[in-house]
């Protein structure tokens, strides 16, 4: 079922309408394995909608999504996740009443093969505890291990969310604005964290911060009004006159 040389993610003629309004208007995109791909575009371009279509939160109106060569369009989120795709959210989405440790452990359970088991004791699996602690170490939250996740600082919660997202060992990681609302130093910290934890994996992210995009991404797609107007390396995209006209120009002007 998993074609070995299929691209990590392939979108073919993807469309999504809400009522009469078409938000995604025919997106074709191929993302190779191991690539770090950023999707940028002005507000309201449909970046989050595209994300939600790929991850199963929304069902496409037409078109298909292929994950590792397998058609996943219209599948439930948990099924897509089991096939090796994991995502984070624009608004922090964790289990606030559970401890940091529990948050990470829960995100490991399915991939460790526990499924809906009610005959294992989670506390008695050394393997599970060690794997959880290893991830906490990686996202630098070991000191916060036993605190309820809801009391962490914003940046810590974002780091936890990245930890939860990659814990299950998915080979395609999708991050929706991972640095939204962060200070400069926090952004730098999260970018380094993302670079570390997605080593050897396929990364797809939506991001507004251009320094993050150009620092992290191998390739960039520009989404404007539900269509991809350009895809290429950061240099190519930067040089593309249509992109400059539609998006970058405005953004750069605003920065100056």
């Amino acid at each position: 079922m998993n074609a070995p040389d299929a691209p990590a993610l392939e979108l073919a003629g993807l469309r999504k309408s809400f009522g009469k309004t078409e938000i995604i208007r025919g997106v074709d995109l191929t993302i190779a394995r191991g690539e770090r791909h950023a999707i940028i575009g002005p507000n309201g371009a449909g970046k989050s909608t595209l994300f939600n279509l790929i991850t199963g939160r929304y069902v496409p109106t037409s078109g298909s999504v292929y994950l590792n060569g397998q058609d996943v369009s219209g599948l439930a989120p948990y099924k897509i996740n089991r096939l090796g795709l994991s995502r984070s959210f624009q608004i922090t989405n964790i289990f606030p009443r559970m401890t940091v440790f529990e948050n990470v452990r829960c995100s490991l359970l399915w991939s460790k093969g526990y499924r809906y088991s009610f005959w294992h004791m989670v506390g008695r699996s050394r393997d599970l505890t060690e794997a959880t602690d290893a991830i906490l170490e990686q996202i630098n939250l070991t000191a916060r291990r036993d605190l309820p996740a809801g009391v962490l600082s914003y940046a810590e919660q974002r780091a936890l969310e990245i930890g939860i997202t990659m814990a299950g060992g998915a080979n395609v990681i999708m991050l929706d604005e991972p640095t939204a609302g962060m200070s400069h130093s926090e952004t730098e910290y999260i970018v380094n964290l993302i670079r570390d934890v997605t080593e050897g994996k396929t990364l797809v992210m939506v991001e507004h911060d251009m320094s993050v995009v150009f620092g992290l991404a191998d390739r960039i797609s520009v989404l404007v009004y539900g269509e991809i107007i350009a895809t290429g390396t950061p240099e190519e995209v930067r040089a593309d006159p249509r992109v400059q006209e539609a998006y970058l120009g405005a953004a750069l002007e605003a920065e100056h």
């Binding site: 452990r105 399915w110 294992h120 506390g123 299950g168």
Partner: protein
């Protein structure tokens, strides 16, 4: 896809500390009949045990799974009806089924029902789930007067537990034998429900309760997690129903109607849904109020209602939450700071409560006593309920108690803050 590398290292053996509460509970259950040997006390303790099993089962939904059910008595009641029928079959067909397995069979029957109902009711949580549970509860309660063959109509189904096979020579004629049977099932059920909360499924039930969408993006179907919790909860509620059938030898429509479902919600919330042991406290308190307080006053349900409303408004964590609030002062070694303010609060609070009780009881007596009967006894004092003096004293006591209690509040809250603040000097 899943690389099931199960190095389920059976390393961390159960520590004595984890085991201790269970050992103490078991000893407690063993010793109780020696302290309270009367049949009346045994009946109360049996009722407590049954309510505890039911409340713990209910909390698998409410506290651990975040599912608010208004119809959970259905599973206890149906388990009870099934147990009664099996009891009668044992008698008439001389089936070789010993009485102690009856709760298990009742549980399995309730499990089957929960699987059918849960298959559609657990698709959504929140209001949808609550409304379906209400509808199903009403539906089955209505069935009980229609399907007389199973529910026995208005008089219910009754039987005799003593006609079955003796279980190692025990015939369950004496109340004490029933007590130990009930206590054994209470221990088994409570341990199993606790262990359930430590399994991957039990942990994911918490996750789905907190954030179903996030759980879905971690590979778990929120709906199936809810479904399995629902089935397990139905199973244990059925066990409670089987125990009820053995104890009372009669099950009627009252055991599965909405009032009963509301009762278990109240018990669980009163005890505290956020902690495993919360429903146990709730069930003990409720049974005491129901059995002991109801002998003292006809309006005990009014007091129960006030207690419930006060809990919802001021202590949403229930009694267990109230107890657990004290773990921080305890850990900081500052619990002693609270003793004096608590004692200062106790007097006015008791005065206030006694005053209000006086008002309620006197008014109730004036309105409901037989014509011409004006003599009543309250707090060991006999007086004429139509006199103005007792009512005036009660009102003054209530107001004075309230006013005095209010005056202690600043001191109490200051002490509370102090008890919860760590010594910064010690940290530096």
């Amino acid at each position: 896809m899943t690389d099931a590398t199960h190095n389920t290292a059976r390393s961390a053996s159960i520590t004595f500390g984890q085991f201790l509460p269970w050992l103490v509970s078991a000893l407690f259950l063993l010793v109780m009949p020696l302290i309270f040997p009367s049949n009346a006390a045994l009946t109360i303790m049996n009722q407590m045990a049954i309510t505890i099993v039911f409340a713990l089962a209910y909390n698998m939904l409410l506290g651990q799974g975040g599912m608010l059910s208004f119809g959970h008595a259905v599973y206890m009641g149906m388990g009870g009806f099934m147990a009664m029928h099996i009891m009668n079959w044992i008698e008439f067909h001389e089936l070789p089924i010993p009485l102690p397995v009856l709760p298990l069979l009742a549980g399995l029957f309730a499990l089957g029902l929960a699987m059918i109902i849960g298959s559609f009711s657990t698709r959504k949580a929140g209001t949808v789930f609550a409304m379906i549970s209400l509808g199903v509860g009403e539906l089955i309660a209505a069935c009980s007067v229609i399907i007389v063959a199973f529910f026995g109509g208005e008089e219910g189904v009754s039987g005799d537990r003593t006609y079955g096979l003796p279980f190692f020579g025990i015939e369950f004629i004496r109340q004490i034998e029933v007590y130990y049977l009930t206590a054994a099932w209470l221990m088994i059920s409570a341990v199993l429900m606790y262990l359930w909360s430590r399994t991957p499924l039990g942990r994911m039930a918490n996750a789905v309760r907190d954030n179903p969408e996030r759980a879905e993006f971690l590979g778990y179907s929120a709906r199936w997690v809810r479904f399995y919790s629902f089935c397990a909860s139905g199973f244990f509620a059925g066990i409670a129903g089987g125990l009820f059938a053995i104890n009372y030898e009669i099950v009627t429509e009252e055991n599965l109607n909405l009032a009963q479902s509301g009762m278990i919600l109240l018990v669980t919330f009163l005890g505290g849904a956020g902690f495993f042991f919360g429903p146990i406290i709730g069930a003990i308190l409720f049974t005491l109020l129901q059995t002991v307080l109801s002998l003292q006053t006809e309006i005990w349900q009014l007091y129960l209602g006030i207690l419930f409303v006060a809990t919802v408004m001021y202590f949403p964590g229930g009694l267990a939450g109230l107890l657990m609030m004290h773990t921080i002062p305890l850990r900081l070694g500052k619990l002693h700071l609270l003793f004096v303010p608590y004692l200062k609060m106790l007097g006015p609070a008791l005065l206030c409560v006694a005053g209000f009780v006086g008002v309620f009881e006197i008014v109730f007596h004036i309105r409901n006593a037989a014509p011409g009967d004006t003599e009543m006894t309250l707090f060991w004092i006999t007086f004429d309920s139509h006199d103005v003096l007792p009512l005036a004293v009660s009102i003054i006591a209530a107001l004075a108690g309230f006013w005095l209690a209010r005056r202690v509040v600043p001191e109490l809250s200051a002490a509370w803050t102090a008890a919860n603040t760590p010594d910064t000097e010690r940290l530096i």
